[in-house]
């Protein structure tokens, strides 16, 4: 299938480029680890608040930070596409018979891969700090899957934004505006039980919260609630991918 092989070749290009930037690699691994350590220390006392519902904060935090990393990793993916547009690389690719869909698919695959690797490191560091995946190997895999889905979804959103605005300032502004509110309107770092009622209501419609719930339930082995979160998350990823593909078509038509 030409779509799959083209996606693979274009994915290889993105992977090689990032492997050639050791500083980028180090930062993308060190940063989430720092979050685990920093938030783990800063909020350690919150577990003693009555009703928090978890004994160890690192245990609670690990899947949350995995999703946070996926969110941040995906959100700025559009910048790379803008770089390709500015340097004529995208036009160059469009003038070949490459399967059009592969141009976007390779970017989403790359973001998914990047955040999966980052999440794996986070879980390892959390394990060293005493977190235990009660969901076992399957739970760990599902944490990574939920991170990959959210990372790909936000990468798609970011790429769509890049294609529609073609301005990196706008991509950064919109993403900064999106990333932090969606983080704090979720149970990423604070237990759902301790949220004000209105946040709890809003969080129900927040895709980041769907990913956090999916990841945390998988990590804790709470299988019964898993399906709904994953279904919502998958639908969100799909919608964002369709949006990105549409934006790409529009970009090409506007040329």
């Amino acid at each position: 299938m030409e779509f799959l092989s083209d996606t693979w070749y274009l994915f290889g290009r993105l992977v090689r480029a990032s492997l050639r930037m050791p500083v980028f690699l180090i930062i993308s691994i060190v940063q989430p680890v720092l979050w685990v350590l920093l938030f783990g220390q800063l909020f350690r006392a919150v577990t003693s608040i009555p009703g928090f519902g978890a004994g160890s904060y690192v245990q609670f935090l690990a899947p949350g930070i995995a999703i946070m990393t996926a969110l941040f990793g995906g959100a700025y993916s559009g910048m790379g596409l803008l770089g390709d547009i500015d340097r004529g690389v995208l036009d160059r690719l469009l003038a070949t018979p490459v399967a059009r869909g592969a141009l976007m698919a390779s970017r989403l695959l790359y973001s998914a891969t990047q955040v999966t690797a980052q999440s794996a490191v986070i879980l390892i560091v959390a394990a060293a700090l005493g977190a235990r995946p009660h969901g076992g190997a399957a739970g760990v895999v599902l944490v990574l899957v939920s991170a990959a889905l959210l990372g790909a979804a936000f990468a798609a959103f970011s790429n769509a934004l890049a294609l529609l605005t073609r301005r990196w300032e706008l991509v950064i502004a919109v993403m900064n505006f999106t990333v932090l509110p969606t983080t704090f309107l979720s149970s990423m770092i604070m237990s759902r039980n301790l949220m004000p009622g209105w946040i709890r209501s809003v969080a129900r419609f927040n895709p980041v919260n769907w990913a956090v719930s999916a990841a945390r339930d998988a990590f804790e082995g709470r299988w019964s609630q898993l399906g709904a979160s994953f279904a919502l998350l998958a639908v969100f990823a799909l919608v964002c991918s369709v949006l990105a593909t549409r934006a790409f078509e529009r970009y090409r038509q506007a040329m």
Partner: protein
């Protein structure tokens, strides 16, 4: 068969900018064809439409016998596109850039590897093949650009301003590459805003200005259409230019005399026969000559005659002050 057929091509961008207002031309197979014009004339837009990157608003374009709107996929298999904005992935090596192009053109790995090696050798990039393009000089990047357009052995190669921004030495190298590709029978569509480049490389050319074709033909035909040769004379005494001008006007066969700076330009019917008369007239008037030159009309003159304004090279606004009435040379828009 014609390699490229363009008929009444129009392109209006979403914000109402008319980039092309009815461009027609035909490129024969195996020909080097030039699109000459200033920045903003519509050259890149034309090439982008032919390379299937942009859809025309009206008109038709066929490349290798295929309609670019109806059969874009088939067109893409047969063309190489070297854009003005490069397109080299700077984070990848020369070899990786070429290999990716080959993969996307679905070349089998067994054929692709030797082809990439061959191109690296051909374009003098073999020693730098496994360095990232970031480390390449401007000339090397441009050569890699051209090599990337050739991996799949296209029938038609588009070169959009291949030498813009290159130093004279790299430009000469690029000209040699173009000539070599032309000898191999490849059809080349070359855009340039350098008159000299079109004159040197193109077998036929059109001059584009403001989205329209204003002149078409071989460089010689275009130049021949402008009657006469040009004699330029530098006098030993600059203060006596006016006297020189007066003397030249009275010479038989001199059609027109212009003074530009310290040089007298006489447009003459036949350079070879007018030259002795010009020199004799100046001697008779007691005006010593410092330097004299005879030249055939250049594309500069063709451009001036076709568009009514002086040709301006890269980095300058198209259109001279007198072309845009009311604007001084310093005016910008």
């Amino acid at each position: 068969m014609n390699a490229i057929e363009v008929a009444e091509l129009r392109k209006t961008y979403p914000r109402g900018v008319e980039a092309l207002r009815g461009v027609s031309f035909t490129v024969r197979e195996g020909e080097v064809f030039g699109l000459l014009g200033p920045n903003g004339a519509g050259k890149s837009t034309t090439v982008r439409i032919l390379a299937t990157l942009s859809a025309p608003t009206a008109g038709t374009a066929r490349v290798a016998g295929l309609d670019v709107v109806e059969q874009p996929r088939e067109v893409r298999r047969r063309i190489g596109y070297v854009a003005q904005a490069s397109g080299v992935d700077l984070t990848a090596t020369g070899r990786e850039n070429l290999t990716l192009q080959g993969h996307l053109h679905r070349l089998a790995a067994a054929r692709l590897r030797p082809r990439v090696a061959e191109l690296l050798e051909m374009f003098g990039l073999a020693a730098a093949a496994d360095r990232t393009a970031q480390t390449y000089s401007g000339g090397m990047r441009r050569r890699l650009d051209v090599a990337m357009g050739l991996v799949h052995r296209p029938e038609v190669l588009f070169l959009d301003e291949p030498t813009t921004g290159l130093d004279p030495e790299s430009r000469a190298v690029m000209w040699d590459e173009v000539r070599r590709l032309a000898r191999q029978g490849l059809t080349l569509l070359l855009t340039t805003h350098y008159l000299e480049e079109a004159d040197q490389l193109a077998q036929r050319l059109i001059i584009v200005d403001g989205g329209r074709v204003v002149a078409a033909g071989t460089p010689d035909e275009l130049k021949a259409a402008l009657r006469g040769d040009r004699v330029s004379v530098d006098l030993a005494e600059r203060s006596r230019l006016a006297e020189g001008e007066e003397a030249l006007r009275r010479v038989d066969g001199v059609l027109e005399v212009l003074v530009d700076g310290a040089t007298l330009f006489a447009k003459v019917e036949h350079g070879a026969s007018a030259l002795p008369a010009v020199l004799a007239a100046l001697e008779k008037a007691g005006l010593p000559v410092a330097q004299v030159a005879l030249s055939r009309p250049s594309l500069d003159d063709v451009y001036l005659a076709a568009t009514g304004h002086v040709f301006r090279a890269a980095g300058q606004e198209p259109g001279s002050p007198d072309h845009r009435a009311g604007q001084g040379p310093g005016a910008s828009d």
